[in-house]
Amino acid sequence: MPASPVSRVAATGDLRIVGQAGSEALVQLLTPEGERVDHPDYVVDAPAERLQSLYRDMVLARRVDEEGTALQRQGQLGLWASLRGQEAAQVGSARALMADDMAFPTYREHAVVLCRGVDAVQIMAIFRGLTHGGWDPHRFGLAPYSIVIGSQALHAVGYALGVQRDAARARGPARPAGQTTGSPVAVAYFGDGAASQGEVNEAFVWAGVYNAPVVFFCQNNQWAISQPAERQTRVPLYRRADGFGFPGVRVDGNDVLAVLAVTLSALQRARDGGGPTLIEAFTYRIGAHTTADDATRYRSLAEVETWKLKDPLERVKAFLHRKQLADPAFFEQVGAESDALAARLRRKCLGMADPPALAMFDHVYAGEHPPLRRQRAHLAAYLDSSPDPGEVPR
């Protein structure tokens, strides 16, 4: 018995989608050539403004990413993890979220961060080594980046269990079981590599057992550093969900419209009390794993070139052009906006001062911690007494 497809109607402002997870084939609505195609399970009607705005999001995300890489090259950042190629997967999914949903991202979800309204400077601060996090998860509906692969999936499920309980508490004891319409959903982002972690699979167990309002959004970008996705599974990843009793769906991760539709539909399902969905966004990591990686050691240029032809931005651009849904002024404006963003980012980044050493003791604990207070005081006294940083030691 395959996980039963459930029809859902999701609406978000201008967009109306009728969708259902569980179909066998890759969900695609916009081909690499920019042709709009129909999908039996996801009937989408998207106005020009929505397409423009998705396109704009992707352009800005790519620009932030390019700037990150450049800043790292110039020694301004310690590291950068490029999202290039994954703009559609990230923007499409993040734009499906409501303000009070909670996303649990990894170190590569920069476009998600932008869509959630966080200033890109905050991302730079992490890779510059100023902070491990920085934005307020509650304000933005966005948990901190997770670097330990897969660890955030359980947090998302726990958050979803909390949402379930909130709804129950609000509605009182007589609520019909499982119905949580309108309440927030937790979204766990992770990669193809993460699917091999025990914790991610435990998250699947819990989500299934408690029918938690959570969406697992897996960007299968084909690689986990040097390991191809076949080193993590011998069947398509979206099928993993079957064995845990909830639907999985594979979507063209380079098709922003399809990703949006599939995610909206999964979110609606969760809001309606239908439980979890696993979305596998089939995409590609165009860059190296990070700026510290040399991808030529393990994969062919030909493969990369093939995927460049499936660029997520180009197909939307082509479609907007062909259908005359955007004029040159629009593209110019987006270009200008992106230039301004990059300039601002660079300026802010270069201007970020190193924090005072003693600040490293902040936020370890909420309450009093005498040994830490002593260690801090000891360092303070030591710093006071020691020579200027510039001097040769002693």
Binding site: M102, T131, H132, G133, G134, W135, D136, P137, H138, A143, P144, V148, S151, A153, L154, H155, A156, V157, G158, Y159, A160, L161, G162, V163, R165, D166, A168, R169, A186, G198, E199, E202, A203, V205, W206, V209, D362, H363, V364, Y365, A366, G367, E368, H369, P370, P371, L372
Partner: protein, 321 residues
């Protein structure tokens, strides 16, 4: 009441006082936990607040983190000490670090209860003392109760605090009885306690070994020797002030715990006390601990565990310096 009953009463009080408090763990609901610490709580507070979970420790701690992010105050039960390790990644890299990672934006008021220690004749993995792993982990707080009164108070304090707490329960003392005064003024959670005043040698312990040390002190008294016994109560942060105060007068210190000695609490206490009270010490700090072997089959535990004799032997050796 017994320590199990005291913990049960403490949990009930915490749940009654704050609807955000939840309990999750294996068999904590219908069964009331394998030690019955959560007995009756599901019936009283509902399945939504006392959650029987899948058999997945990393899931228990990981989802508790998510629940805490949503405003809940989860109390996790790990069934036995030896089963905490599947959750280690969530404890050490997530629970301990998320406040720091989020620059203070996230609060993680998660209490992780662990029945710990030996002495009950159990099979493998059911008698371990993992406290040093947690005390070594910055971002966690670690406490151990030794008697029903403390159990009742400390579990509530742990739940009420905004930091994650590893709450260690000495399972061999679960069934020992003592009166619990629910209205008594309480020490702060992170304060050590002088369990018995004494002048000749200071003995420090926590959790299950406090009773053993008090017994040793009683025997010693019969032999004309006065032992001070300090119940540490808090393992991280350590509160060594009462120990230092005592050592400054006795000049001798014996530290006792069940855990293996290498890089343990007794090492830390010895190092700190020696540094702070160097000129007061007439003898080096002596340690009476489990051996550096896996917890042995139960027929060996009488020899493995520190007992009254081994404690008094160390006291004698200390006095012989």
């Amino acid at each position: 009441m017994t320590m199990v009953q005291a913990l049960n009463a403490g949990l009930r009080a915490a749940m009654g006082a704050d609807p955000a408090v939840m309990i999750l763990g294996e068999d904590v609901g219908r069964l009331g936990g394998v030690f019955r610490v959560t007995d009756g709580l599901q019936a009283e507070f509902g399945e939504d607040r006392v959650l029987d979970t899948p058999l997945s420790e990393s899931g228990i701690v990981g989802t508790a983190i998510g629940l805490a992010m949503r405003g809940y105050r989860p109390v996790c039960e790990i069934q036995f000490d030896g089963f905490v390790f599947p959750a280690f990644n969530q404890l050490v890299s997530q629970l301990a670090k998320l406040r720091y990672r989020s620059a203070g934006a996230l609060s993680l008021p998660v209490t992780v209860r662990i029945p710990f220690g030996g002495g009950i004749g159990a099979v493998e993995h059911h008698s371990e003392s993992p406290e040093a792993y947690f005390a070594h982990t910055a971002g966690l707080r670690v406490v151990a109760c030794s008697n029903p009164q403390d159990a009742y108070v400390m579990v509530q304090q742990s739940i009420a605090g905004d930091d994650p707490v590893i709450f260690l329960e000495p399972k061999r003392r679960y069934w020992e009885k003592a009166p619990v005064d629910r209205a008594a003024a309480a020490d702060p959670l992170h304060a050590a306690r002088v369990a018995r005043a004494g002048t000749d040698v200071t003995v420090v312990a926590y959790g299950p070994m406090v009773r053993t040390c008090l017994d040793a002190a009683a025997v010693a008294e019969g032999e004309g020797m006065s032992l001070a016994v300090i119940d540490l109560r808090t393992l991280s942060p350590l509160d060594l002030q009462p120990v230092l105060d005592s050592v400054r007068s006795t000049g001798r210190l014996v530290v006792v715990h069940e855990a293996p000695s290498n890089c343990s609490l007794s090492a830390e206490i010895a190092a700190q006390v020696t540094e702070e009270a160097f000129f007061s010490l007439a003898a080096p700090v002596l340690r009476v601990t489990g051996y550096d072997i896996p917890y042995p089959p139960s027929r060996f535990e009488a020899a493995y565990l520190p007992d009254l004799d081994r404690i008094l032997d160390a006291v004698d050796r200390s006095r012989a310096y």
